[in-house]
């Protein structure tokens, strides 16, 4: 026995010397100091399990991270595992930088435990699993419980109630408002708001109605848009038109605006600043006049670089990061919604803030998940155009009809 042990050890040592350690490079892009810290913990656990693999984590500052990753990939720098996001995946696939994970998935048991959304997101582009999501960004309605209680206002359940509640709070003389502009991703609010007025949205294509028309052309969309403008003029700080997410979250935390339309990864930030003594809570999105709310979802996850010299080891790392245990820990700290069925059974996601999201997932009749065309080349330019047009409409430099026409034009040719 002892001899065998020595033999095996010798073999291992020679093997290690002969082949050396496998070095993996991993790039994250939605960076923050605390998340980087967490990922490093996971990586050291992974390295403990796989002593022959060493992982180097690259964490560029958030604002330039996607750009940097894109440059690294296009010049074939050493990257094995990378963060894939809703708006970068198509680009990476176009440039043939992502490995098709189909073969690897076949032998991975946990894959069948994932929620539907996870399967859908993984194969968002070309129906091919190019990455494994680690979580979802789904909007919900954050509200300042303390402020609503004080004013005796119920949590709004419909878009109209949201408007009325926000208006009730608004007292511009004392610098108090109800709602605000949703920063650089305002589209995540206007779309949900406007689609919920239109009865026949096609969940497959998001921007189309079931008869194949761009939804901006429907009369309901115009009515919805006008209501949205009313909401902004009656209940939002005029200044918020130029806010970024940080100002938006600050506005919520400081009590300037008691309602916030945000992703779950905002929860940890709000908890940090407001404390967890129930000053704020999260409710399902209000429902629109059509009786439905069309939920868009953002996602991000881990993929393997197509040109990686160690795809097997890289997959091991992706798999490790996607296991139930790690994903739950990641989601709890990062705030994103977890990917697995069994994760959703964890107590943490069945209480407190997460009840807001849970309620939406459990109510498919009212909350319909739609696909947003992240994968169209029009998407990137459209985001800037949409933002500028909205601002022009609010400033009175463009009519709502003109704006809708411009947006319809963009998408008419895209599908």
């Amino acid at each position: 026995m002892k001899k065998l042990l020595i033999f095996v050890t010798c073999l291992l040592v020679t093997g290690m010397i002969f082949f050396g350690k496998t070095n993996l490079t991993m790039v994250e892009t939605i960076t923050s100091p605390s998340r980087t810290e967490l990922l490093k913990t996971f990586i050291s656990e992974f390295e403990a399990l796989h002593p022959d693999i060493a992982v180097e984590l690259i964490s560029p500052p958030y604002e330039s991270a996607d750009q940097k990753l894109s440059l690294m990939l296009n010049t074939n720098q050493k990257v094995d595992v990378l963060e894939v996001r809703d708006h970068t995946i198509k680009q990476f696939v176009n440039n043939k930088k992502l490995l098709n994970l189909e073969e690897y998935l076949k032998s991975w048991n946990e894959w069948s435990d994932m929620v539907n959304l996870t399967h859908e997101a993984a194969s968002y582009v070309d129906n091919t699993p190019y990455f494994i999501p680690y979580g979802f960004f789904v909007k919900a309605l954050f509200y300042r419980k303390d402020m609503l209680d004080e004013m005796g206002i119920e949590v709004p359940k419909t878009m109209e109630e949201l408007y009325l509640a926000a208006k009730k709070f608004t007292e511009s003389k004392s610098n108090q408002y109800g709602f605000d502009w949703r920063g650089p991703g305002e589209i995540g609010f206007t779309d949900t708001w406007m689609m919920s007025y239109v009865p026949d949205i096609d969940p497959k294509y998001g921007y189309l109605t079931t008869d194949g028309k761009v939804y901006f052309e429907s009369p309901e969309a115009l009515a919805a848009f006008k209501d949205w403008i009313k909401l902004f003029k009656d209940a939002c700080p005029p200044d918020s038109i130029s806010w970024g997410w940080s100002e938006q979250v600050n506005g919520f935390v400081s009590g300037l605006t008691p309602f916030l339309w945000q992703d779950p990864d905002t929860v940890p930030i709000c908890v940090e600043r407001l404390g967890s003594e129930g000053k704020f809570a999260v409710a399902p999105l209000p429902i629109g006049p059509s009786g439905k709310t069309f939920q868009q979802y953002g996602f991000a996850g881990w993929g393997v670089a197509s040109y990686s010299e160690h795809p097997k080891e890289a997959w091991e790392l992706v798999k490790f990061l996607s296991t139930k245990d790690i994903n739950i820990r990641f989601s709890k700290s990062n705030g994103t919604l977890p990917i697995g069925n069994s994760a959703w059974e964890d107590e943490f996601f069945n209480q407190g803030y997460y009840l807001g999201w849970k309620a939406m997932f459990d109510d498919p009749e009212h909350y319909v998940f739609i696909k947003i065309p992240f994968d169209k080349k029009e998407w990137g330019p459209y985001l800037t155009k949409h933002r500028d047009d909205l601002q022009k409409v609010i400033l009175g430099r463009m009519t709502p009809e003109e704006a809708l026409n411009r947006w319809a034009e963009t998408w008419k040719n895209a599908f």
Binding site: T31, P33, T75, K78, W245, N250, G255, D265
Partner: protein
Amino acid sequence: MKRKILTFLRFFSIAIFVFTALAPLYWIFVTSVKGPTETYSFPVSYWPKEFTWDNYIFLFKSMNFGQFLANSLFVSLGGATIALLLASLSGYVISRKRFRFKSLVIFIMFLTQMIPGFIIMTPLYTMFGSVRIGSASLVNSLSVLILIYTSMMIPFSVIMMKGFFDRIPDSLEEAARIDGCSNIGALFRVIIPVTLPGLAATFSFAFVNCWNELFLAIMFINSESKKTIPVGLNTFIGKADIDWGAMSAGSIMALIPTIFIFAFAQKYIVQGLTQGAVKE
């Protein structure tokens, strides 16, 4: 009486300049010693209710800020020094000698200043990224960053150094030549010492520019252990929030070396051109 009013006006103006310059700095400092809740509370408070050094402790304990400082010092000193050395050679020749493509050389120096940084960045990255040594490329190296910073700092340094050399009387150099100095000998033994103040001024400009360079440092540096200060500060801007406390504390820390250099150099800058004030 008139004189008194003038003196008063003079110091009053100086006071306004000092106040305008310092007010934002004061605001950064106050923010850096506030707790997270107070930073975001409204109405704003002009002095922290609870004074805390937590943000500074966070920088050095969890963020490796000491390492960032060292890296920034390394690349800024390196870039500024090499640029200054090469630029004083060229600046000297352009100032002193007559040659055919002189105005072209000067125009080229200005031309570099017209090119937007973003037009250069991607091709530059591709250039260094495609040179391979083994499996690693030339990116993620502080030395490469120094080379790039050097090239960025050369043109302005040349233009400045030429100006400083122009003000040194030719007679000084002639004397050296009569003593049998060679071209280079004259430069190093006679001219450079007289230009020391000018060198200090140019150096401080180049240093500050390298110290604050952000976009190239983000693109070229991968490892945590090689990041520079601006990159470190930039990590406090997250997807949905900006960590103002840490950002302010970091900005204050980043200012200390540069203010030190400015305070040191301003003496020379003020003196700088008085040396050899007689222009011939």
